[in-house]
């Protein structure tokens, strides 16, 4: 425990991320000051939005600087505590980054520092009860406003966020159709997650299938993809539809601007709304969301999948799994087991 392994951002990506964008470095293990804790990362979270953090542009968070440790959410364990609320061995959630050790305090990073509720394993804390689950919860309920009997369409439906959004819509009494890539993901949606139907965007004519599977049109479209999928969905929105812009993974690795949907005027014809959001704005209301999510899981209404890679060396490549669709559910990487 004398070395702190780190992956730092070496150069900004153009298109898909490669190992060249990062540099492996070994630093000293930092010392916590008063009111701080020394943490050891156990699990790293991988999220499509992290690709955006690597760009040198204004966004909802400042870009990761060249030479800085790559930013990522994590579950970590307290090694040394100089803060009265945390004890050695506690499991916490924080913005740990791609490294073994870090010093943190309740006010540090994007996520601050919060103890995992008793009995919640790291993989759950970083998936359904983490940023992706909370994103699904607030995006669907606060912006989507699904009503019983309405039709909810979800893109990226087998992903960590989309799968939770779709299942919450089912719990709220909606008809739910998911769009995902490949027969395995589609089968999981209908057979395990309880979606009413699934569209395989790699094999189906998405526009046509939405029309067939949503005969009463689409009241809520929860979009993680953008591009052609968004355009297809806009062809089928209902009156007063809500389009929840959660993400646009289809463009995250684009090397040139990708044109938007040609049919935005359908928002006018259908008196519809398209709205974006960032989950960090809802963090002060997390307790309510977590309570609902836990209850639904206990009732067997909410299923999830985690894809846990291992090995510090595999961190950079694991990010790309999100963009090649290789991940099955929430993408994580385990650095260490809790002691």
């Amino acid at each position: 425990m004398t070395v702190n392994r780190q992956w730092v951002l070496a150069k900004r990506p153009h298109g898909m991320v490669t190992r060249d964008n990062f540099e492996y470095r070994e630093a000293a293990v930092p010392e916590p000051g008063d009111g701080e804790v020394l943490l050891r990362n156990l699990y790293l979270s991988f999220d499509p939005t992290q690709r955006g953090w690597m760009e040198d542009r204004e966004s909802y968070l400042p870009p990761v600087g060249i030479g800085e440790v790559m930013r990522a959410g994590s579950v970590a364990q307290v090694v040394t505590s100089r803060h009265p609320d945390f004890a050695e061995g506690d499991l916490v959630q924080t913005t740990g980054g791609w490294q073994d050790y870090l010093v943190a305090s309740p006010g540090s990073g994007v996520m601050g520092l919060s103890r995992l509720p008793d009995g919640v394993p790291p993989t759950l804390a970083l998936s359904v009860l983490g940023v992706t689950g909370l994103t699904a919860y607030w995006g669907l309920l606060d912006l989507g406003e699904p009503q019983p009997g309405q039709t909810v369409l979800v893109s990226g439906a087998a992903g960590a966020t989309g799968s939770v959004a779709g299942q919450i819509a089912r719990i709220k009494g909606c008809r739910v159709v998911g769009i995902a890539g490949g027969p395995d993901k589609c089968r999981w949606l209908t057979d395990v997650a309880g979606f009413d139907a699934a569209i395989d965007y790699k094999a189906d004519d998405v526009d046509q299938r939405i029309g067939e599977l949503c005969p009463d049109r689409v009241d809520v479209f929860f979009d993680n993809v953008g591009g052609g999928i968004l355009e297809a969905a806009l062809n089928h929105i209902n009156m007063h539809a809500r389009v929840v812009l959660c993400g646009g993974i289809s463009a995250y690795n684009a090397t040139a601007p990708i044109p938007g949907p040609a049919n935005l005027m359908n928002l006018v014809v259908m008196r519809a709304r398209m709205e974006g959001f960032i989950v960090i704005d809802y963090m002060d209301r997390s307790a309510q969301a977590v309570a609902d999510l836990v209850a639904w899981m206990e009732q067997g209404l909410l299923h999830h999948q985690v894809d846990v890679q291992e090995g510090f060396d595999n961190i950079p490549d694991t990010l790309n799994r999100l963009f090649t669709g290789r991940n099955i559910g929430k993408q994580l990487l385990k650095i260490a087991d809790p002691e």
Copy 2:
């Protein structure tokens, strides 16, 4: 008064409308039944949305059928009344269409049938107090929610709707920037209509000028244009901005789909909303809007321009003035003077 001149839709347009899309016809003057009135059109209203009514596609109104009189709002005079609420000589607003005479009742057409308030001239009833003024009023206030001190950007700002939207924003204490075509329109915006600044999209770099003229970014974008103007505006939206989709005139005559903005993800980063609406949904609340608009005009806070063409033969060509930008303010055509 034995002939009813009409322009009927002869074939659907591909691109810009030409005279070939219409056919001149002479029909018999119709007879009103019980509860109906015979009307003579005095002024026709021309609106960009009418171009959409000529397309054979699902929209907020059914398409005008081939062989049917072209649909248009109008101010007309009662020739014969068989309805107790209307007397011979009354001036009314209705969906009169491109013809001299029609039979109407309070429930007919898109607009029904309503008597003009005393002292309101037809040109005002069809502009500030008509569909375009009401569109500006509800779109800006209900969807845009402008707050004092915020920045409001308007495209198509010298048009019948945009000019009213921008002036209402000024009345509500906002900084207002308008986008219009050509120095004359821009001068009218700043010198007469009280806009804080104007951008000439034919001469200026719109994206750059928005940045310069909206240093606190754009809180409300009232868009009548779409396309590249919408994309430029999205580059400069503020946190929690509202993009009011009123129209998209840049694409109304397109012969192939025009790609949408490549930067929709700015709606996510900025937690912003883009929403469409149709003014007919607000018609039951018109009295409130008209009262405000009249009061603002009386106080000298609300200016407007009307462009009155003349001659039944010029009706088809007048529609195109909207799309070539030749119109100055609200486009009307006078068929006859009141008797």
